[in-house]
C-alpha cells in the first residue's frame, strides 16, 4: 500500500492519519486537486523512484506533472517530500509553504513544514505550523504528536538556558513524523489499484541512513501527548461505508462481542489479550513488521496512565467469514481524551472474529 506508507525522518513509528473529513473536504475540490489518470501514473512512478532512493529521477517525474499542472497539490506535495529527501530543506520549505497558502485547509503541508522547521531548530515556527494543522483538523493525530514533541524540545531548550547545561543528548528525545500521504484521501481508483499489488513497504535505505545521523538521539520518548491518539491510523479507505449494514445475525453478535472484548483488554492493559484480537495477517498501519507494531503497541499500552476505552454504536455487516465493523470509540488516558469512529475489517478464523484492518473513519 504505497499511499499508506509513511515517510519518517527518525523512525518508522508514526503514521499520518488522513481523516474521512479530509476526504470529504477534498472531494469538494476533487476536480481541481485530483490529477488525471496519466499524471497520477507519473506520480506513482515518482513515488516508486523516491522509495528506491532515486530522488533525481523522482523529482524529474514530478516536475513533468507540474509542467502540465503547475497547481497540482499532490505533485507539489510529492516534490516537497523529494526535496526533503534530497536534504534541500529550504526548497522543501518553500514548496510546503506555498501549499499551505494555496490549500490552507490541508493539514499535511503544515505538518511537514513543522518537521522541516524543527530540523532547523526553528521550534517556534514549527509550533505555529502544527497549530495551523490542528486548527484545520483538530483531531489530527500526527500533528498532535509532533506538537507534543515540539513542546518538549522547546522546553528542553528553555531548561538548557535556565540551567546552563546542554541536554541535547539527554532530555528531548523526540521524533517528528513527516506525513508522506496527501491524496490517498482523494479516493482515486489508481491509488486503490496499486494498493492491492504493492504489498508491504519497508523503510527506504535513505531514511534508514538518515535516522543514523539524525541530530535527535533516540531514547525514551518524552511526552504523554504521544500516547494513543489513534493507535492504528490508516488511510481512510474509499470503500463506501454504505455497504455496511447492521444485521442482527448470530455471527454479527459474535463480532460485536469480539470488539467489546478487544476494548476491555485494552482498558485492562491486558496486552496479551489485546494483541490476540488481531489476525495473523493484520495490516499494520504503517506497513511495519508485525513484531515492531506489537512492540510499539505494548510499550504504549504499558505506559503509567490508566487507559479507558469505551465502544458504542457498533454496526456489523457480515459477509461470510468477513465483517465490516464500525463503531464509536472513546479513548481516555492521562490527559488525553479522544473520540473517533473506527472502521474495522474482521475475519473469522477457527470460529473467532479477529481484526484484520483497523482505521479511523470520521
Amino acid at each position: 500500500m504505497p499511499m499508506a506508507e509513511k515517510y519518517n525522518i527518525m523512525t518508522p513509528r508514526r503514521f499520518a492519519a488522513p481523516l474521512r473529513s479530509l476526504a470529504a473536504l477534498l472531494c469538494m475540490g476533487a476536480l481541481m486537486l485530483a490529477p488525471s489518470a496519466a499524471s497520477a501514473d507519473t506520480l506513482q512512478e515518482a513515488n516508486r523512484l523516491m522509495k528506491q532512493g532515486q530522488f533525481g529521477p523522482a523529482l524529474e517525474k514530478t516536475d513533468q506533472v507540474l509542467a502540465a499542472k503547475p497547481k497540482d497539490a499532490q505533485a507539489r506535495f510529492m516534490k516537497g517530500l523529494i526535496l526533503t529527501e534530497m536534504n534541500r530543506h529550504n526548497d522543501a520549505i518553500a514548496v510546503f509553504t506555498k501549499l499551505t497558502e494555496d490549500y490552507p485547509e490541508l493539514p499535511e503541508p503544515y505538518n511537514n513544514l513543522a518537521v522541516l522547521y524543527a530540523q532547523q531548530r526553528q521550534f517556534e515556527k514549527a509550533k505555529n505550523a502544527l497549530e495551523m494543522a490542528i486548527r484545520t483538523h483538530p483531531s489530527y493525530a500526527t500533528a498532535h504528536e509532533n506538537l507534543g514533541d515540539i513542546y518538549a524540545r522547546m522546553a528542553s531548550q528553555a531548561y538548557d538556558k535556565a540551567l546552563q547545561i546542554d541536554s541535547s543528548n539527554a532530555s528531548a528525545q523526540s521524533k517528528l513524523a513527516m506525513i508522506r500521504d496527501l491524496m490517498s484521501v482523494a479516493a482515486r481508483p489508481t491509488a486503490l489499484a496499486s494498493r492491492s499489488t504493492s504489498g508491504k513497504v519497508q523503510a527506504s535505505p535513505a531514511s534508514v541512513a538518515k535516522a543514523e545521523v539524525a541530530p535527535v538521539v533516540k531514547a525514551e520518548p518524552v511526552s504523554v501527548a504521544k500516547a494513543e491518539p489513534n493507535p492504528t491510523t490508516q488511510p481512510a479507505e474509499p470503500k463506501p461505508a454504505a455497504t455496511v449494514e447492521a444485521k442482527p445475525s448470530a455471527s454479527g453478535k459474535e463480532a460485536e462481542k469480539a470488539i467489546r472484548d478487544w476494548a476491555a483488554a485494552w482498558s485492562k492493559k491486558d496486552v496479551k489479550a489485546y494483541l490476540a484480537a488481531y489476525a495473523g495477517d493484520f495490516q499494520t498501519p504503517a506497513g511495519e513488521a508485525r513484531s515492531a507494531w506489537e512492540a510499539e503497541r505494548t510499550r504504549r499500552i504499558n505506559k503509567a496512565e490508566p487507559i479507558q476505552v469505551d465502544v458504542e454504536n457498533i454496526q456489523v455487516a457480515v459477509e461470510g467469514d468477513r465483517a465490516a465493523v464500525k463503531f464509536r470509540q472513546h479513548y481516555k488516558s492521562g490527559k488525553l481524551k479522544t473520540s473517533a469512529t473506527k472502521a474495522m475489517v474482521m475475519v473469522r478464523r477457527d470460529g473467532k472474529w479477529l481484526i484484520q484492518q483497523e482505521r479511523v473513519a470520521n
Binding site: P138, S139, H144, L147, G148, D149, Y151, A152, M154, A155, S156, Q157, A158, Y159, D160, K161, A162, L163, Q164, I165, S167, A170, S171, V222, S223, V224, A225, K226, G334, K335, L336, K337, T338
Partner: protein, 398 residues
Amino acid sequence: MLKRPGIRLLAAALCLAAAGAVSAASPEQTYSDSGPEPMLDQVFAHIEQNRLDAALGQTERLLKAYPNFRLGHLIKGDLLMARSRQIKTLGNVDNAPQDKLADLREEAIARLNAYRGKPQADYVPRYLLQMHPEQKFAVVVDTQKARLYLYRNVDGRPRFVADYYISHGKAGTDKVREGDKKTPVGVYHVTASLPRQKLTDFYGSGAFPISYPNEWDKRQGRNGHGIWLHGTPSNTFSRPPKASDGCVVLANQDLDALAKNLQIGTTPVIISSSIEWLSLDDWQTERTALSRSIDEWHRDWESLDTEKYLRHYSKRFQSGSQGLEQWSAQKRQVNSGKQWIKVGTTNISMFRNPGKEEMVVVTFDQDYRSSNLSNVMKKRQYWMKEDGVWKIVYEGGA
C-alpha cells in the same frame, strides 16, 4: 487531544508566603516596578489559576525584556512541558543538576516574596537614623530577602527610591574570616569605583568596594577583604540568592542604575540579614534619644568637667590600644591644662548597626578649638546601649 495538566502544584511547590502583614499603601513609594518581579508575579498568578497559555505568553514577554533571565527560561520550560505531561514542581527537568534547580527555586521565592511582601510606605529601615547632608543616598541590604533598598536623603530622612534583587555569600552572612564565603553584616560605605574596563566579565558592569572590615569588625577580630557591590557576567541576568564569595551582586542594569547614586567615600551601605522596619514615629523617637546623648557628650566635653564627660564612655571602651583607663587618664591630663574648649559637630550621620547588639555608628566633622590647641577632623564613634543608656565603645578618626 492534548489537554494541559494543571501545574498549580508548581506554585504550591514554591510555598509562597502570602503577602505579609505589610502591604504597600502606595506601592510606587516603596517599590520600583522596574525589575522582572511584576511580570514574574503575573506569570505565577496565571499558573495558580491554571491559565497556562497566558502564563506562557507572559513568560515570553518577560524573556524578551530579560533574555538572560534563567529563572524565566526554567518557567518557560515547565509551561511547555506541561503541555505534554504532568508538571510536579518548578523545574521539572530530568537529570538536571539538583543544586542549580534549587538555586533557581530559591530565586523565584526570593523575588516573589520581596514583591508580594513589600515594605509599608511609611516604614523605614531602623538603621538609617540620620544621614548627613552630603549623603544623597543610602543603601540597605536585606540578605534573607535577597534585596537591596535605595533611599534618598530628604532633610536627613530616608525616602524610598528603588529596590533590587541581589545575591550574597554562598555561606550566608556574618562574615568572620577571609575566604569564609560569607557576607558581612554591619555599617559600611562605598570606598571606590572600579569601572568595567578594569575588571573581568565576571563582575559585569562595574564594582564598588565597601569598607569591610570596619573599626568594629577589626576589634572583633574579623578579617578578609574585597567585599564589593558588583554586577553579573554578560551572559547572566541574575545569580542565585546565595552565590557569591561574600560580595553583594546585582543585575548589571540594576548596578548601573544604582551606580548613578553612589558617592565614593560617602554613600553608606548597611548590610543586614533581615531588615528591621520602624514606623516613622518610632524611628523619630530612636533618633531623638540618641541625638540627645550625643548632644550631652558634646556639652559635657565643652564644660571641662572631665568626669562628667567620661561618664559617656563605656567600660568596654577601646580606641586603638587605649582602653577606658588610659583614655580617661589622658583626657584628665589634657583637660587640666585648658581654659576653654569649643567643639563644633557638623554633618552628623547616625546608622544603627544591624544585629542583636544595640549599636549605632556615628560619624561627624569635628571642629575642635581650645585655649591651647585646635584641630579639625572627621570622627567616628560607636555608641552602644548599656542598661538603657547610650555609651561610647569606640572613638577615632574616620
